[in-house]
């Protein structure tokens, strides 16, 4: 394989930086609380708990909804419904049993399923005959995995992120990556091992329960 680093390093899958939450909630003095702190605030029930959880995880929920239901308006509705349901049902969230984003995504998957269920009921009513059910369950599950992995990839520092993108999307071997990025072979290998493990852990913690 010839490697022309200029073109190769520009991957269309790179998101345009991370998208800020515009006109979202305002939380006083909250620099970047970690996920446990946000979950604790959420369980406490003060408005800031919801605001922080929304700031941190609404892009995840929204993107899963967008990918799973298609229309931006429906995705916005699903996102709103997820946070409203999560807040009203926050007593059912047990931090000992799972992560808050995992719980939010569970609610999101249910809402997506409801969305398709309503659609297919509507279709049956109109057509007066059975429609094959949209396979919303497994489709939503794979969406959740992809969105979580994309999120975690975007959170990897450099050069880890670049390394993993070259390995995943350009199918470069670790030796080729080492050449392209001018990094020692051992460094590339160890970044690959650690990053892959971090991605796996993210799916385990926040992903669809097996």
């Amino acid at each position: 394989m010839t490697i022309q680093s200029g073109a190769l390093l520009v991957d269309e899958r790179l998101p345009a930086a991370s998208v800020p939450v515009t006109a979202g909630p305002q939380v006083a003095g909250a620099g970047a609380p970690d996920d446990d702190e946000i979950a604790a605030q959420f369980a406490l029930g003060g408005d800031a708990g919801l605001a922080l959880a929304y700031q941190r995880w609404s892009p995840l929920v929204h993107t899963v909804a967008l990918r799973a239901v298609g229309s931006p308006d429906d995705a916005a509705d699903v996102t709103q419904a997820v946070f409203v349901a999560a807040w009203r049902g926050r007593n059912g969230f047990d931090p000992a049993k799972g992560s808050l984003p995992g719980w939010l995504l569970t609610i999101a998957r249910r809402r997506v399923a409801d969305h398709w269920e309503a659609r297919s009921r509507e279709a049956r009513r109109i057509a007066a005959l059975g429609e094959p059910d949209h396979d919303s369950g497994s489709a939503a599950d794979s969406v959740v995995d992809r969105v979580l992995l994309a999120d975690e990839l975007a959170r990897l520092g450099e050069p880890q992120r670049r390394i993993m993108e070259l390995a995943f999307f350009q199918d470069l071997t670790h030796a080729q990556i080492s050449g392209v990025l001018d990094l020692p072979l051992g460094t590339v290998k160890s970044h690959i091992r650690r990053s892959l493990d971090r991605l796996r852990t993210r799916l385990e913690v926040d992903g669809v329960a097996q």
């Binding site: 406490l44 919801l50 929304y54």
Partner: protein, 231 residues
């Protein structure tokens, strides 16, 4: 041979070739095989990522919809003290104590408003100067009591026939960060309990704004009075 190391498994998961010894071992070892399966699943999901899978924030209307649906007053909200740095168990203990003593802050309606003048030491006072055509002025007094810091705000002649409501804020000196303490009823003096973790010295500015029932959590930018706390 001993189990394959994680680097070899990671490379195998990515479809690279590894040493013949590793390949032979993994083929015959359930433990390494199952580890490889997990990593391979991650790789195949990752390779299916499309540009639209990278998380993007929902439109602003979604947050407004949520606060409206939940009947939250909006405003800048302040985290509750949890002592998160001291570990999870401790954090929950502190959290429940905070909840038990009613240390609740946030938008209008949830601030703890005391209806009596607290017996507490005066720490600082602020002369609140006029910021609007109405020309109202007032005072703010910061007390330190047993339960924490209290801020008493008084604006004589605050009109009652307001379209909307009045909200009390504490802000950093540059007004870059503002915390909503709660609403101020017309003609009355009100005392607010400050969030436990809040250092009043870092939020020396007291501001009272005219807010509208529009679900917008931010300061309306219509300040009635403003002043700086001084010891």
């Amino acid at each position: 041979m001993s189990h394959s190391d994680d680097e070899a498994l990671a490379l195998l998961a990515l479809g690279e070739s590894v040493s013949r010894a590793d390949e032979a071992h993994v083929a015959g070892c359930p433990r390494c095989q199952s580890r490889l399966d997990q990593l391979s699943a991650v790789v195949s999901s990752a390779r299916a990522i499309e540009p639209a899978d990278y998380p993007t924030a929902p439109p602003p209307a979604v947050w407004r919809g949520i606060t409206t649906e939940l009947g939250m007053a909006g405003g800048v909200v302040a985290p509750l003290p949890t002592g998160a740095r001291s570990g999870r168990r401790r954090m929950w203990a502190v959290a429940s104590v905070a909840a038990a003593i009613g240390l609740i802050v946030g938008g209008a309606g949830v601030a703890t408003v005391l209806d009596r003048q607290p017996e507490a030491t005066v720490v600082a006072t602020a002369e609140l100067g006029a910021m609007s055509e109405a020309g109202l002025t007032g005072t703010a007094v910061l007390h330190r009591g047993d339960a924490g810091n209290l801020l008493t705000v008084s604006i004589p002649g605050l009109p009652g026939d307001v379209d909307g409501y009045y909200e009390v804020w504490m802000a950093t000196a540059d007004a870059g960060t503002m915390i909503a303490l709660g609403t101020l009823a017309p003609g009355a003096e009100a005392t607010f309990t400050l969030p436990g973790g809040l250092d009043p010295a870092a939020f020396p500015v007291v501001d009272v704004s005219h807010e509208h029932f529009d679900g917008d959590p931010e300061h309306s930018a219509e300040s009635l009075v403003r002043g700086q706390l001084q010891a």
